[in-house]
Symmetry: C2
Subunit: 305 residues, 2 copies
């Protein structure tokens, strides 16, 4: 089960009624914040999922609207009781440590340690957050920007009838279920002997500040939920989308459709667009079930059975 | 005339219904922001006095709740149309350039130039913002923190009857009124000959993150409005006020009374105090007309006649 909530949906600058684009992910008691522009900590507090358990902050790129809230958030997490035995990971593109440490000129003393992790966007480069496997992919923006994908793999179902056939004592079932072989009747019983076929897990993608690319479509293939920037609603803003390396509603919808995303949320709306709903039809024409993001829009990704 | 508006009243961290302590000052078409924690730009936008005309940002000290909003605000001022011929001054304690430039790692490119001005808190150290004269005074906090005072001096009234006695042509009146001597009947006429007695000007003080001191009382003597921190309302928090180098309501009120401030506003409330009004009586017992600050509380300081 993965809980997801949009902390904000704005691009460029915070507005009185729109926080900057940011996503909160919760899994197994851990909280992960993806991007934190100015004011993200206020939206986090409003949502009420807590602050102390934020153990990972992912940064997509170094534009202020995606990272300016970092020093304040780090201080607030400290004020919420995170301690010296609870390190916090800050993950981002090359240079993340330099940029974050520069911002920490006003937050030099924190009660917990910080660990930095640069990601390259290379497909073999993964980072584990509990059971979640994180990967990154380079977007196409005017500076290095990473798209992120979380995958939660699911163990095959345990088949009691197979275990009974072998005659395995019940206390050994759990060990095999967890994927560890056990010794029984002078031989090693492999998990595969008592487990069913592979089952699909859960996945979540986050994309911002990018043009659409074939690589991104591949990266996000079959995600359960794709949260993507959709900066411009008006098709007439297509030239702006190209110039500023963003996407229109139609482009973001096409990306979601091409990746076969099961759910598609839009975020990172230009401040020049007070009512994204006005342009909804341009997205729905391409991806009928699209959801235009709003503050604290939430969803729980869970297994169908 | 000086317009003043509180942009926020919170200390330590921004809350869903409370922006961080910050003051906006307007005089002669110029806007001055005093402190800018995370979210100040949102409060500024809500107030609606504009962003482009912010030509000076004063920073009291380098705690995040007073400066974390700086890079975002600088970018937003740029987006509002401030251009290359409109430099913006950032004024603060020693080190302001180093700290601000470190934060500018995420706002390196601005369309207008930035000028830094360090203030020492020495009484002879002044900075002019149009007609306003700014001075600073060291507070007593756990790091260098400046209190600020703005003074607008008022020219003595022109006395037409005196000018007529001398026989001065009317076109010379304005020159003398502005303080410049003129030559008439083979002698220099001094402004004093046609001007009335000195008149009091307007003044405004801002104090945050400090214990009360005798020096601060002197610094703020006779201000028309003193905006001061009053972090703790509950008299039982007096030990906290001492430990954390802040003030209680009673202490802030006593400071305002001792300085003979004509108006007194409180700000910088601890996030642990959701309703400052509950403790109002402890301030009113010492300074009856005290005003507990709230977002966008505004006032115009003007001459009585």
């Amino acid at each position: 089960m993965i809980d997801v909530s949009l902390l904000g949906t704005g691009g460029t600058l915070p507005l009185p009624d729109r926080f900057l684009s940011s996503l909160l992910v919760r899994h197994g008691g851990r909280l992960i914040v993806v991007d934190c522009g100015e004011g993200t900590q206020v939206s986090l507090r409003r949502l009420g999922w807590g602050l102390k358990d934020i153990g990972t902050i992912l940064i997509t790129h170094f534009h202020a609207d995606h990272i300016a809230g970092l020093p304040g958030l780090l201080l607030t997490i400290g004020n919420s009781g995170r301690g010296s035995d609870e390190p916090l990971s800050i993950v981002g593109p090359r240079g993340i440590q330099r940029v974050a440490e520069s911002l920490r000129v006003i937050a030099p003393h924190l009660p917990y340690p910080i660990r930095y992790r640069e990601m390259t966007g290379d497909s073999v480069d993964t980072f584990e957050i509990g059971d979640l496997k994180l990967r990154a992919c380079l977007g196409e923006h005017d500076l290095t920007c990473l798209a992120y994908r979380f995958d939660l793999s699911r163990a095959p179902a345990f088949q009691p009838e197979l275990a009974k056939e072998i005659g395995l004592p019940v206390q050994m079932w759990r060990v095999l279920q967890k994927g560890t072989p056990v010794e029984f009747n002078n031989r090693m019983v492999q998990p595969e002997e008592v487990l069913g076929p592979p089952r699909p897990g859960l996945s979540l993608g986050f994309l911002t500040d990018s043009r659409p690319t074939r690589k991104l479509v591949e990266f996000f293939t079959d995600v359960d939920l794709l949260v993507t920037e959709a900066t411009y609603g008006d098709p007439e803003d297509q030239p702006k989308a190209i110039d500023n390396k963003h996407m229109t509603f139609a482009e973001s919808a096409a990306l979601g459709a091409a990746a076969r995303a099961k759910n598609l949320w839009f975020t990172h709306f230009t401040p020049a667009m007070p009512n994204p709903d006005y342009f909804r039809k341009h997205a729905e024409a391409v991806y009928p079930g699209v959801v235009l993001g709003r503050e604290h829009l939430s969803m729980t990704l869970s297994y169908p059975d």
